[in-house]
C-alpha cells in the first residue's frame, strides 16, 4: 500500500509540475552542457585527451546540472507547500507525511535525472571520438547516483531550514560539495562528490587522473564508494522521514 501511495504522489506531482516555467528550466539545464560542448567542438579543440573531455562532462552533468535541478526541485518540497498553505491538507492524512515526502523525493530525482540523461546523450554525440558509449553509460549511472544522494541531502536541508531553504542548500553545496570535497583531507571522504569522482575514475580506468590527484579522485575500490553513497542516501532519507514525522505543522499561525 505504501508503494501505491508513493506512486500516487509521484503521478500527482509530475502532472502538476508540467508547467511552461518548469519545462523551460529543464530545457535550460539540458542545453547548458550541450552548448558548452558544442562551442568547444566548433572551435576545434583537440579530441586526443578523452580524460579531459570526460572530466569536463562529469563536472557539467552529474555535478552542475544535477545539483542545480535538485536545488530547484528537491530542496523546497516542504517549504513551498507550507508557504502555499497546502501542507496542512497533506499532513493531516495518515500517509500524508512520510509517503508524500518520499513521493516528492522521487519526483525531484526523476526531473533531474531525466535532464542529465538527455544532456549526457546529446553531449556525448557532439563530443565525437572523445565520447563513446562507455562514457555515456558511466555519466548516466553517476547522474542517477548523484540525483538519489543529493536529493536526499537537499530534502533534509529543506526540512531542517524550511524558511531559507534554497539559500542554505546553496551555501552547503558551495562550502561542502564544491569546497570541502576538493580539500586533500579525510573530511572530503564524507562528501557525495568525492565518491562520485572516485567511481568515475574507477569505471573509466583513468589512472593518469587518479595518480595526478589521488586526494580528489580517491583510491578506494568501487564497492567502498558505492557502499558509502548508499549509506549516506539511506541515512539522510531516514533522518528526513524522522524529521517530518516528529515535527509540528499547524494549519496556520495563531496567537
Amino acid at each position: 500500500m505504501m508503494l501505491r501511495i508513493i506512486l500516487s504522489v509521484v503521478k500527482f506531482e509530475l502532472a502538476r509540475s508540467l508547467t511552461a516555467g518548469r519545462i523551460g528550466i529543464w530545457l535550460l539545464l539540458v542545453l547548458f552542457p550541450v552548448a558548452l560542448v558544442g562551442t568547444l567542438r566548433l572551435n576545434e579543440v583537440p579530441q586526443n585527451s578523452a580524460e579531459a573531455w570526460g572530466i569536463m562532462l562529469y563536472f557539467l552533468v552529474p555535478e552542475v546540472v544535477c545539483l542545480l535541478g535538485l536545488l530547484l526541485w528537491a530542496t523546497p518540497v516542504v517549504s513551498t507547500e507550507i508557504e502555499g498553505q497546502t501542507w496542512s491538507y497533506l499532513a493531516l492524512r495518515p500517509s500524508g507525511r512520510r509517503e508524500v515526502i518520499l513521493g516528492k523525493y522521487l519526483t525531484a530525482v526523476v526531473w533531474s535525472f531525466s535532464a542529465t540523461v538527455v544532456s549526457s546523450t546529446l553531449s556525448v554525440v557532439l563530443m565525437g571520438d572523445a565520447g563513446g558509449l562507455r562514457l555515456w553509460f558511466v555519466m548516466c549511472v553517476l547522474s542517477g547516483l548523484s540525483a538519489l544522494a543529493h536529493a536526499s541531502l537537499y530534502l533534509l536541508i529543506g526540512l531542517l531550514f524550511y524558511r531559507r531553504t534554497i539559500v542554505t542548500a546553496v551555501f552547503y553545496t558551495g562550502a561542502v560539495e564544491y569546497g570541502l570535497s576538493f580539500v586533500p583531507a579525510v573530511a572530503n571522504k564524507l562528501t557525495i562528490n568525492y565518491r562520485l569522482r572516485g567511481l568515475l575514475s574507477n569505471w573509466m580506468d583513468w589512472e593518469n587522473a587518479r595518480s595526478a590527484a589521488e586526494r580528489v579522485f580517491g583510491s578506494e575500490p568501487t564497492i567502498v564508494h558505492l557502499s558509502v553513497l548508499v549509506t549516506m542516501t539511506v541515512v539522510l532519507l531516514v533522518a528526513s522521514l524522522a524529521k517530518v514525522s516528529l515535527s509540528e505543522y499547524p494549519t496556520q499561525q495563531e496567537g
Partner: protein
Amino acid sequence: MIELNQVTKLYGDVIGVNDLKIELESGAYGLVGPNGSGKTTLINLLTGQLRPTLGEVRVFGEDPWKNRRLLRRIGLCPATDVLYPNVSARQWVTYLVSLYGFDATECEDLAVESLDTVGMKSRMDRPMGEYSLGMRQRAKIAQAIAHRPDLVILDEPYNGLDPVGRQQMSELLSDWVDAGKCLVFASHVLHEIESITSSFLLIFGGRLLASGTSDELEEFVTEAPQEVTVVGVGLAPLVAVLAEQPWVEAVQLDGRDKRLRLALRDPSAFYEMLPHWIEKYSLHIEQLQASQSNLSAIFESLLRYHRGDLA
C-alpha cells in the same frame, strides 16, 4: 468523541490554549471565538498536527498525535486557501483521497461523489486557478468529506461564500449532522453556527469560557448583570444616584459625560426609576441600549466575566 484533559499548548512564551478540559459526546458543536482566541490551535491539537505541551488529547479514545491511523476517521477543512492553480478539483481531491490508501478507482469514485455533494461536479475538471473563492471553499469541503470520515472539523467554512453559497453550505452541513455524523465547526460569526447546531464551545484567550446549548448558556448568564448603555447630555448626576442602588453592579461614565455604561442586576428597577430621574435631573437622553438576549449577548457577557469587567 473528544476528550481534552487539562490541555495547554505553548508556542514558546505565547499561550495557544490554556488548561482546556473538554468532554464531548458524538454530535455537532460550534466552536466560537474571535480571531486569535485559540480555535485553530485547538483544531490542530484534535487533528494531531500539534502535540500538547501539557495534558492529554483523545479523539475517539485515541491520541491523534501518536496514532496517525486515527486521521482516517477525521476530515478537516482548514481556513487556509488552496493554491494549486493548474490542478483541477477532481485531480486534487482524488490525490488527497489516495493518501488514505484507497485503490485508484475507489479514489476517483469517492472524489467525484464528494464533489457532487458540494455541487461542484459540473466544474470539477477546470483548473482551480480559475475558481472563485466560493468554488475553492466547496472543493475544500469535498476533500474533507471524500473519505467518509466519522468526524468533520471545519475552520471558518463560510469564508468567501456569497449569500446563496452560504445557504447551500448550511444545508449541506445540516444534512451531514442529520445523517448522524459528528461535526466541529469553528467560526467567529455566531449566526453561522446557530444555523447548524445549538451546542457551543465558547473560547477566548486560549481558555474555554463556557460550553453547552444556547439555552443552557442563556440560563447560565441570566443571573449575570445586564449591560445597559445610556447616551445623552448631563448624565453626571446619575452616577451618584446609581451608585447607591443595590441592583447596580458597575457604573462607567466616559470623559465627556455623554455615555454611561451600566451593569445592572435588576434592569427592570432601572427602567422603572429612569423617568423619575430624567425629570428630577433634567436629563436629555438620546439613546438607550440594552444587550440583546441572544448568543452574541451571552458571549459578550462571558467575555466581560473573563476580562474581569464583571464580578
